[in-house]
């Protein structure tokens, strides 16, 4: 049982939870995720770790309500517990000094798992430019934290209620055109990552994305998370969650993510 220590709302349907998990806090690296389970009959849900505090023995998770299980998670209050929490899972982000700008772009709650990666690239001595995108200003999260570790932050909203009006790709393209970008990291909805990948492929900028496919066990057993990357079958839970975005078959991934739509709500 892992206790919720702190809870805050980023928006009506997006919640930040600080959770007791001392071993995970110690072992995790940027890019890692955990699996949580809420309630006796709960589903196993993968969530990328947004932050960790080794001294306090806690990790931070950012959750968006999209279905039965995330609704249960978002209803948890400080003092409540996850029935189960396991991790850290997946491969950590390959962070290092790059010959040029590292451009980090996050869409919606994708900004949460992006934050530790931004932090790590900054600490590795890179110039980091971040592009945060959402439908409107209420859905832009963690702007202050991202700004703390970025040399520059661009905000893009669909309706122009914050930053500039436009899609994430407009912001990314602007940065690529004006300075030498060595690597792009894109985390967000599959459709967003797909279009960022299409754009950066045009400019031949290496791009990493973090996939949030369906998982059951999350430990390399069920194969629900499988996706073709560069024509090869890969398992997001153990081979990922990060892959070369130019090689990922996003259309396949997007189609497979709907596999259980008639069964959940």
């Amino acid at each position: 049982m892992n206790r919720i220590i702190e809870k805050s709302h980023f928006s009506e349907h997006v919640v930040k939870l600080v959770v007791e998990a001392p071993e995970v806090a110690k072992a995790r690296k940027p890019g890692h995720f955990v699996i949580v389970r809420t309630g006796q009959g709960g589903e196993r849900i993968p969530l990328t770790i947004a932050d960790a505090d080794v001294a306090a023995g806690t990790i931070t998770l950012v959750v968006q309500e999209v279905g039965v299980s995330t609704r249960k998670i978002c209803a948890l209050e400080p003092g409540d517990c996850f029935n189960d929490l396991v991790g850290p899972l997946g491969r950590a982000t390959a962070v290092g000094k790059r010959e040029g700008t590292v451009l980090c772009c996050g869409g919606g709650v994708g900004v949460a798992p992006l934050l530790p990666i931004i932090k790590a690239f900054k600490e590795a001595g890179n110039r980091v430019v971040s592009v945060l995108a959402a439908r409107n200003k209420d859905l832009i999260i963690l702007q202050e934290e991202v700004a703390r570790y970025s040399d520059e932050v661009l905000i893009m909203t669909d309706d122009g209620s914050a930053g500039r009006k436009g899609l994430v790709t407009a912001g990314v393209e602007e940065v690529i055109q004006r300075e030498h970008v060595a690597e792009v990291v894109a985390i967000g909805p599959a459709v967003m990552m797909k279009f960022v990948a299409l754009l950066t492929k045009k400019y031949e900028v290496p791009t990493i994305c973090s996939l949030n496919t369906i998982m059951v066990d999350g430990t390399g057993m069920c194969g629900a998370c499988r996706v073709h990357v560069g024509g090869k079958l890969r398992f997001v839970c153990v081979d990922g969650p990060e892959f070369d975005a130019h090689q990922v078959d996003f259309d396949e991934m997007i189609s497979r993510m709907k596999a259980y739509d008639p069964y959940t709500n």
């Binding site: 071993e23 995970v24 072992a27 389970r37 309630g39 006796q40 009959g41 709960g42 589903e43 196993r44 039965v68 299980s69 249960k72 029935n83 189960d84 929490l85 396991v86 991790g87 850290p88 899972l89 059951v216 066990d217 430990t219 390399g220 057993m221 069920c222 194969g223 629900a224 499988r226 996706v227 073709h228 079958l233 398992f235 153990v238 078959d249 396949e252 189609s255 497979r256 709907k258 596999a259 259980y260 069964y263 959940t264």
Partner: protein, 488 residues
């Protein structure tokens, strides 16, 4: 041979002689083999109840009477853990059931499990003297299950006496290999902690084998016995991830047994395999067995196909197809590229599947899945096969019949063509030698390239049975104990 003789030393006891003399062999061999009472097929598919109901005491005692108590019992050689088979059987015959259970526990941490899921027809029972007489062998598996169940029902499980030696050992994985190792090490006095990645203890016994073949209550009773012996279990802990190798050493562990099991499901690499509704048997069974999908109060969804194709001919394929019938499939079909004679599944499982209305499309192999406009599977194209010469596996090979392709309407496909070893531990411990198949390389003592790490079960074998995994656990326990006690 020496092992076999040791295992049969009780044969000279006066009571065993009396039993042998009480009835001539001719009379005993005339007794027909016990028939396992079971639920009728049409009823079974309406629920998850255990199919085999177990022998009554009268049936068991009569079956035990059939055993000739051979001077050199070959059945023991057929058992991967060399259970003292005649000894426990003759105790059933004299109705000393606690003693029968005690004998089983000496060599097996999970007798109630083995009595249910072991392929006895290929092991102990295949070596029974009755086969030579062209008669059905003694039902050793039924009797093992009977003795183990009787012990559990009596609520009088004997906890072996343990003399602690204070040496800590860790186990990664709580499936059959890990549990068997844990039980053996604890009996030897070691302080044992078992770490499990999932939220339930039991590994494949929980996530894989369905309730109708192995009820969870049976597994839980075995786990309770281990707990009562002092074995500690930790769910949600992944060795190599949550706790590193160095963490374990710092915690005071002097030996580590890696039994992390099978992992990545294999797919066939044919077009359409990425369609929604095509999944591995691991995914299908885990959703239902571990996550409770399809039952009220459980959040995990599962596809309830009306026409379900299960690809493969092993026990996992049978578990999947029989589960599909129970989930309401009108047509549940086994698609297998060879003929029924070559199927790796247990004969009993194939028979049970057939009784439950499962259709068998043998000599068929999928070549392509067909999807609808929503990306969901709606059909499969099958290549017809014919049998050829025996191949490297000793089974007859399969040869495509040129141009003979049939299309079948389906709305769910479950791929059950094997698994690769779980990559988590091999990937995360530097210096651990791994074979080109991804299994952990070990020597005859089950020791890996790292002196403190031993390994066994599917992480070493790639994919095997419960009993072979348990045999590895026993072997690793014996060699690790010897090493640690010599160092102490």
């Amino acid at each position: 041979m020496t092992d076999r003789m040791e295992k049969n030393e009780g044969r000279d006891a006066a009571w065993r002689r009396e039993l042998r003399d009480a009835m001539p062999a001719k009379e005993r061999t005339a007794i027909p083999r016990a028939v396992m009472p079971m639920l009728p097929g049409e009823f079974r598919i309406t629920n998850n109840d255990e199919v085999n109901q177990g022998l009554s005491e009268e049936q068991a005692v009569l079956e035990a009477t059939r055993c000739l108590d051979c001077p050199t019992p070959t059945c023991i050689e057929g058992c991967p853990v060399n259970i003292a088979i005649p000894d426990f059987i003759k105790n059933i015959q004299r109705r000393d059931l606690p003693e029968a259970a005690r004998i089983l526990r000496k060599t097996s941490a999970l007798p109630a499990v083995c009595g249910r899921v072991c392929p006895q027809e290929r092991q102990c029972e295949s070596r029974c003297i009755y086969n030579k007489m062209k008669k059905a062998p003694v039902a050793i598996g039924y009797l093992e299950r009977f003795a183990a169940d009787a012990e559990r029902d009596s609520a009088d499980t004997k906890i072996p006496e343990i003399v602690d030696n204070g040496i800590r050992v860790a186990v990664a994985g709580s499936g059959p290999a890990g549990l068997s190792f844990a039980g053996d090490m604890r009996r030897r006095g070691f302080d044992v902690d078992v770490f499990e990645a999932l939220h339930e203890i039991g590994g494949v016994l929980k996530y894989g084998i369905p309730e109708f073949r192995l009820p969870n209550s049976v597994v839980d009773a075995e786990l309770d016995t281990l707990r009562a012996m002092g074995v500690r279990f930790h769910a949600n802990t992944i060795i190599g991830k949550t706790l590193s190798y160095d963490d374990l050493l710092n915690m005071g562990f002097r030996g580590i047994f890696v039994a992390s099991g099978a992992g990545l499901p294999r797919f066939m690499g044919i077009p359409g395999e990425e369609l929604s509704g095509v999944m591995s048997s691991n995914e299908y069974l885990t959703r239902i067995n571990l996550m409770g999908a399809g039952r009220p109060g459980y959040d995990t969804p599962v596809l309830k196909g009306r026409r379900v194709a299960v690809i493969g001919g092993g026990n996992t394929a049978m578990d999947s197809v029989r589960t599909a019938r129970r989930m309401g499939a009108e047509r549940a079909m086994i698609i297998y590229r060879r003929s029924e004679a070559e199927m790796p599944a247990r004969i009993e499982e194939i028979a049970h599947a057939r009784e439950e209305g499962v259709e068998f499309l043998t000599l068929h192999n999928p070549v392509e899945y067909i999807g609808d406009d929503k990306g969901r599977v709606c059909g499969v194209r099958l290549q017809r096969m014919e049998l050829g010469e025996p191949d490297a596996s000793g089974r007859r090979s399969f040869v495509p019949v040129e141009g003979d392709i049939v299309t079948l309407d389906i709305d769910e496909a479950i791929v059950s063509v094997g698994v690769s070893p779980n990559p988590l531990i091999p990937d995360s411990i530097d210096g651990l030698n791994v074979t080109n198949r991804g299994t952990i390389a070990v020597d005859e003592a089950m020791q890996s390239s790292m002196p403190l790490i031993f390994a066994g079960g599917d992480i070493v074998r790639g994919g095997a049975t419960v009993i072979l995994a348990m045999g590895d656990g026993r072997k690793a326990a014996a060699s690790m104990a010897e090493k640690l006690l010599a160092d102490a």
